[in-house]
């Protein structure tokens, strides 16, 4: 920006009196997040380098970084508004549009300077005869008769798309009298585009088209960037505005008149103004917040402000405080009542001055106040305080000593660790000091100093330390040394401390790597039985198949607990190779056998099912068990293989096949009937045939009814067939039978999905409160006589009709549109058309929304099917 030119322009405000006011320049895009902009910011994001995409010149691409903002991948998102509001101002804006794109800068969110690609690519020059809609134009206003009052730039000064361009604008806000009536229009005093003057003293009589507020004007308003007309990037946006406007905004947030009441705040008093202030501060611009902060600091310093008021100010400062607050807050660190509240604001204040203040206070304080400051320095991770704090580690004040020791751990640097090692510490605090030393080691490890961390960990594994500290030190050593720690961990299995032995198993679970698994597995034979079982459980937890040979070997262990542990471990480690020993164990029964069966039922892998199926042929001794397990696996992939074996007269396969029929068989009614018939012939004996009938009983349909009917005459199967018949009949009976007409009522419907409910009462008795198109309802009907049916629904709707839906019978759908009956309690019959049912059977009648218009779709009282003669 050319400061000389700018200063000249500001001096020559031609539309009104010059104002020699103190000004402030606000940067809107210098933060790594969009903190200067109001929410929502949609898809706008902070970016580093930006460029037009070479492959798609209508779009932008950018790198991570800061300095610029872009409005997302496709340039279709919301507009954004600055938190700061301006009246008269000078603004510098840089922007980039790709080919054909469109944006705009709206002063006070009302008066637009157009951003547009006004380059003529054929002529390799800016387009001739630029209009208001070209880059740099003052956009038109919009009224009942269309557009008016737009001003094209004097010169089309635009650059080719994909280049950074600049606007430098001097803007004068509209003027209003005391009653709020406008006395002067807004005016663009100067608009300079890429260094070229394109407008001078152009008044705008009202908001331009697509302004945020098209119908009112105000003394102050935010800067708005258009984000929904195409891709655009902005950077280096600066507004210079009178300090008095910032003060006015601060006045709106916290008026002087509110201060006396604020200063007298008491617990238990109403806090409307305090809550309103907190709310306003959340969306205020940083510059306004700084002014408010200064006023609040005056409250803090005031002698006659209450404790309640001051503690409330400190809480606010925790969220909004800046470096400006540090001196006043530092002064409170010695105040018994307010010290903690001061630390609430100081502890995480990002300014280094906060750390300085806390360190300075340390020397001057005693007792609990000193303890508090130590705690806060620790939480800040203040490495400069290490020496001061270390000197307090053996204080006679127990809480102070503990705070000092803790703080060194929270600071966590190598220097803090060294200070801990050197500092004398009371005997009862040694474990705490060990904990803090380990915290430091953890920090060093996280920052990449594995060797330094390991040295500390190793030191604290010595026997003279507290057992829990040793345990934690071993853990650290395992993390720092990784595979190199394997021998150490294996030794821990024999440590005389029970908790350390216990922890060894935990560590083993945290050490990745195939070689590590093998090293652990190799130790199995050397351990006593209970340890073997524990180690096997750890190997299972590691999930590394390198342990599989050792675990398989453990299936033959002398100790039952070890065998069970091995069997359980195979559920996660095993593959098809584990099937033979597991199956053998399962067939032997007992606790081990049950564990083996459970494992086989859960063992993942298609080849496991295949292996089990093969054993039905190859291993008759275990076939019954294998069949049982195959059924428990509920693995549909095994179904065809079982059928093949059943055809080859394998009785176990046939039984398993029969038992899986009820859920694994798929197909049309004819197919299913044929499958069940086939299963009856494949069944090796009457008992197996009864299983098939039992499976059919779980399928409520006409085909299954006919199927079981056949066997009611067979003496051996009569009981099973009768039972199946009764079960199927009962299920079918529950379905309404559609003879000539059936009214399917709301109260009997099954509702699917959330977003609709049954409403009872005479005025309702319907499915209503239908707020989601995902909610649908259905009924099952039995149709014994084929035919053609008229379909009608009874519905009400008041307000916004036009939603659409389908009524589906079997596989035929009839579309309907919701009709306005003007009253939710007034139901009308709507005819939808006809469906033809060719085959008898059980059918689902469903009402499924297609599209919702408005909040509620419909109230549905019933669906009626009537046979057509």
């Amino acid at each position: 920006m050319n400061r000389m030119l700018f200063a000249t322009m500001s001096a020559a405000l031609a539309c009104g009196a010059a104002r020699a006011a103190e000004t402030r320049t606000v940067e809107l895009l210098d933060a790594p997040v969009m903190s200067a902009w109001q929410l929502p910011t949609g898809k706008w994001e902070v970016a580093g380098e930006v460029a037009q995409r070479p492959d798609k010149p209508g779009l932008l691409a950018w790198k991570a970084g800061r300095g610029a903002i872009v409005n997302g991948d496709d340039g279709r998102t919301c507009n954004i508004h600055s938190k700061i509001e301006h009246g008269d101002c000078e603004a510098h804006i840089e922007f980039m549009v790709p080919q054909g794109s469109n944006s705009g800068v709206y002063f006070q969110a009302r008066y637009e300077i157009q951003v547009f690609d006004s380059w003529d690519a054929a002529a390799n020059a800016p387009k001739a005869d630029p209009k208001h809609s070209d880059c740099g134009g003052i956009y038109e206003r919009w009224g009942a008769n269309g557009g008016y009052e737009g001003h094209g730039p004097r010169v089309n000064a635009c650059k080719a798309p994909g280049q950074w361009q600049t606007f430098d604008v001097v803007f004068r806000a509209p003027r209003f009298d005391a009653s709020g009536r406008k006395t002067a229009n807004a005016c663009f005093v100067k608009v300079v585009h890429n260094g070229v003057l394109v407008h001078e003293n152009v008044e705008v009589t009202g908001p331009t088209r697509a302004a945020t507020w098209e119908n009112d004007e105000k003394p102050l308003g935010p800067l708005m960037l258009q984000g929904d007309h195409g891709p655009v990037a902005y950077r280096n946006i600066r507004i210079t505005l009178p300090v008095s406007d910032i003060a006015a905004a601060a006045d709106a947030v916290l008026p002087e008149s509110a201060l006396p009441a604020l200063m007298k705040f008491e617990f238990g008093r109403e806090r409307k103004q305090e809550a309103a202030l907190e709310l306003a501060l959340r969306s205020a611009a940083a510059e306004v917040v700084a002014v408010v902060e200064a006023r609040l600091l005056a409250v803090l310093a005031a002698k006659d402000a209450t404790f309640a008021a001051k503690q409330w100010v400190c809480r606010l400062l925790r969220a909004i405080g800046t470096e400006q607050a540090v001196p006043v807050l530092a002064g409170l660190l010695a105040d018994k009542e307010l010290a903690h509240f001061a630390r609430l604001a100081l502890q995480h204040c990002p300014s280094p001055k906060a750390g300085e203040a806390l360190r300075a206070a340390l020397g001057a304080l005693e007792g609990d106040l000193k303890t508090g400051v130590v705690s806060s320095l620790g939480e800040r991770g203040d490495a400069k305080a290490v020496a001061q704090i270390a000197a307090l580690a053996d204080s006679k004040d127990e809480m102070l000593a503990q705070a000092a020791i803790r703080a060194l751990g929270r600071i966590g640097t190598a220097e803090a660790a060294a200070a801990l090692a050197d500092a004398p510490v009371a005997r009862e605090h040694r474990a705490l000091a060990g904990d803090s030393a380990l915290l430091c080691a953890d920090g060093m490890l996280a920052r990449g100093d594995a060797a330094g961390a390991a040295a500390i960990y190793r030191a604290y594994t010595e026997r003279r330390h507290d057992p829990m500290v040793r345990l934690a030190a071993f853990r650290g050593l395992v993390l720092a040394e990784k595979e190199k720690a394997v021998p150490l961990v294996l030794d821990l299995l024999d440590d005389r401390d029970a908790k350390i032995r216990e922890a060894a198993y935990l560590f083993m679970g945290q050490m990745p790597g195939v070689e590590t698994t093998k090293a652990f597995a190799a130790k199995l034979p050397a351990l006593p039985p209970a340890s073997r079982a524990a180690l096997i459980a750890v190997l299972a937890g590691r999930g590394d198949q390198a342990a599989l040979p050792a675990v398989l070997a453990a299936l033959d262990d002398a100790d039952q607990d070890v065998r069970v542990a091995a069997i359980t471990a195979l559920a996660t480690l095993g593959d098809a190779s584990a099937v033979p020993p597991l199956l053998a164990a399962a067939a032997r029964g007992g606790a081990t056998g049950e564990a083996a069966a459970r494992t086989l039922a859960r063992l993942p892998g298609d080849d496991v099912s295949r292996a089990l199926v093969r054993t039905l042929q190859d291993k008759p001794d275990t076939a019954a068990t294998a069949a049982d397990i195959l059924v428990k696996r509920r693995d549909k992939a095994a179904f065809p293989a079982l059928k093949e074996l059943a055809k080859q007269k394998n009785a176990h396969a046939a039984r398993a096949y029969g038992r899986m029929l009820d859920w694994a068989a798929d197909g049309s009614p004819e197919t299913l009937a044929a499958m069940f018939e086939e299963a009856m012939t494949l069944a090796p004996d009457v008992a197996a045939q009864r299983l098939v009938l039992g499976a059919a009983a779980k399928r409520a349909a006409l085909w299954s009814l006919e199927f079981v009917e056949k066997y009611r005459a067979d003496a051996k199967l009569k009981a099973a067939a009768d039972a199946a018949h009764a079960k199927i009949s009962a299920a079918l009976d529950k379905m309404p039978l559609l003879e000539n007409e059936t009214v399917l009522k709301a109260a009997e419907a099954e509702i699917h999905g959330g977003g609709a409910v049954y409403e009872d009462g005479a005025n309702r008795d319907c499915i209503g409160v239908w707020t989601s198109a995902q909610a649908w309802v259905s009924w099952d009907v039995m149709i014994k006589t084929p035919g053609t049916f008229e379909v009608k629904i009874a519905q009400s709707m008041a307000g916004i009709p036009g939603g659409t839906y389908n009524v589906i019978v079997g596989d035929q759908a009839l579309k309907g549109t919701v009709k306005d009956t003007h009253d939710w309690a007034r139901f009308e019959a709507i005819a939808l058309g006809r469906v033809t049912i060719a085959k008898p059977g059980a059918y689902t009648v469903a009402f499924k929304p297609i599209k919702l218009v408005g909040t509620y779709l419909i109230n549905l009282r019933s669906v009626t099917l009537t046979r057509v003669r």
């Binding site: 790594p32 925790r318 609430l344 508090g372 939480e379 853990r475």
Partner: protein
């Protein structure tokens, strides 16, 4: 002060071999550890203490008292009536006078004979007893939300991990078959690619003002406040500060933090994001305009994950799902809460999860899972890291709403990017003399 370390390892006791030098221990309790009729010999029971035995704590206490495999010997509370009430319940159960009561949780932990503690405390107190117990080698059953601030949560996780402790978060939905089923259906792709997630939590409310009152004789107000900022005693609603502290920001974050540990936890479980978190959080909340309560009543924030997926968390009246977690995928959606499991298309609920597919941690008894893991040293169904990550989402939402800015979060380093004002809200100064 701390007694010399005489704590027994439970696993060693299970073998009944006292002092056997090389005696190691099984990873599973052998059947002979349970005596006839399922009685557990006293030497094999898990010895427990309760810290915080008000309404929630009494619920925990009652549950643990009903289990033969543990024995409660001590209770701690800052309200004398709670201590006495709990002691009565414990002594009545064991038909003796043995239960000790404490005001100071450190004395309870320092007894030296406990194996585990359960805690049920206002949120400002979640961190310190947990860290103290972990350092002392105790296993911990804690309540949700895991912690009041993200920094406290990380310190708690670090302590639990450093000392190899078993931790169970009181998010019992994880041991509920309905929730597990929903999660397994989502994890195994029955919805196809997940497009978005919604979480619904209860709406909060406002309250009038409450005048300061004299502290009742049965309550130690300084202890009750603990590391939270000082305020004069008053009722918080009802006749005490108990329960209704949760609507005051000094102590908790309202319905949002009360329930984030449940439904956000389930939502992330279904997505496989339970040990990580979002990369951006943005939203708005409505806070009471007056009165004692200052937590968000209505709230809605959107979390974006690294893969672009968005999860919206809102109070029930702010969006259509009421309470619970709802995952939307290419093939439909699944909704689960304590009352229902629904899907569209409905047939998704009939699907079997086969042996080749992802099967999540199975627990059908939340406290039983804790006790089992105390024995086996396995991780529980709701370990510390997961509890911390679940509430972190809620706490980031709180920070987004308090600052009115979009929060960019690095879930690996657990830092807020580019916003020192928001970062300042990740931790909170403790009232002296307490130190995190």
């Amino acid at each position: 002060m701390r007694q010399p370390f005489t704590r027994r390892s439970f696993l060693k006791r299970t073998l009944g071999a006292a002092g056997a030098a090389a005696a190691a221990f099984p990873a599973i309790v052998p059947s002979q550890a349970l005596g006839a009729g399922g009685a557990v010999a006293p030497s094999n029971r898990i010895v427990m203490g309760g810290i915080g035995v008000g309404s929630m704590g009494m619920g925990d206490l009652g549950d643990f008292l009903g289990r033969r495999e543990c024995q409660v010997v001590a209770v701690c509370d800052v309200d004398r009536r709670h201590r006495e009430n709990a002691k009565r319940a414990v002594d009545n159960r064991y038909q003796n006078d043995a239960c000790k009561t404490y005001l100071d949780f450190r004395e309870l932990i320092d007894r030296g004979d406990l194996d585990a503690v359960f805690t049920a405390l206002p949120d400002q107190w979640h961190a310190l007893p947990a860290i103290y117990a972990a350092r002392a080698g105790l296993d911990i059953h804690g309540q949700k939300p895991f912690a009041r601030t993200i920094r406290e949560g990380r310190a708690m996780c670090d302590a639990v991990h450093r000392y190899g402790r078993v931790w169970q978060t009181g998010s019992q939905q994880r041991s509920d078959r309905r929730f597990r089923r929903a999660v397994e259906l989502v994890r195994n792709g029955r919805l196809g690619k997940i497009l978005k997630v919604e979480v619904g939590l209860p709406t909060g409310g406002a309250h009038g003002v409450e005048p300061p009152r004299p502290v009742p004789e049965y309550l130690d107000w300084n202890w009750w406040l603990g590391p939270a900022p000082y305020r004069p005693f008053c009722n918080f609603g009802g006749n005490s500060p108990h329960w209704d502290w949760r609507w005051i920001m000094d102590f908790s974050g309202g319905q949002l933090t009360d329930w984030a540990g449940h439904h956000i936890d389930i939502a992330q479980w279904g997505l496989g994001f339970e040990r990580t978190g979002p990369v951006a959080v943005e939203g708005q909340g409505e806070f009471p305009a007056d009165g004692l309560y200052d937590v968000p009543m209505r709230y809605k924030f959107v979390c974006t994950y690294a893969n672009g997926l968005q999860m919206t968390v809102a109070n029930d009246s702010g969006q259509g799902i009421a309470h619970g977690a709802k995952w939307y995928g290419e093939r439909g959606w699944i909704l689960v809460n304590r009352g229902t499991l629904q899907a569209e298309p409905k047939e998704i609920l009939d699907e079997e999860i086969g042996p080749n597919e992802i099967q999540v941690y199975q627990s059908d008894d939340h406290k039983g899972n804790f006790l089992e893991c105390v024995r086996t040293r396995r991780e529980t169904v709701a370990p510390a890291e997961i509890g911390h990550r679940s509430i972190s989402v809620g706490l980031l939402g709180e920070i987004a709403m308090l600052t009115g800015r979009k929060i960019r979060w690095n879930p690996d380093t657990e830092e807020i990017i580019g916003d020192p004002g928001a970062s300042a809200l990740l931790g909170k100064a403790y009232r002296e003399p307490w130190t995190l």
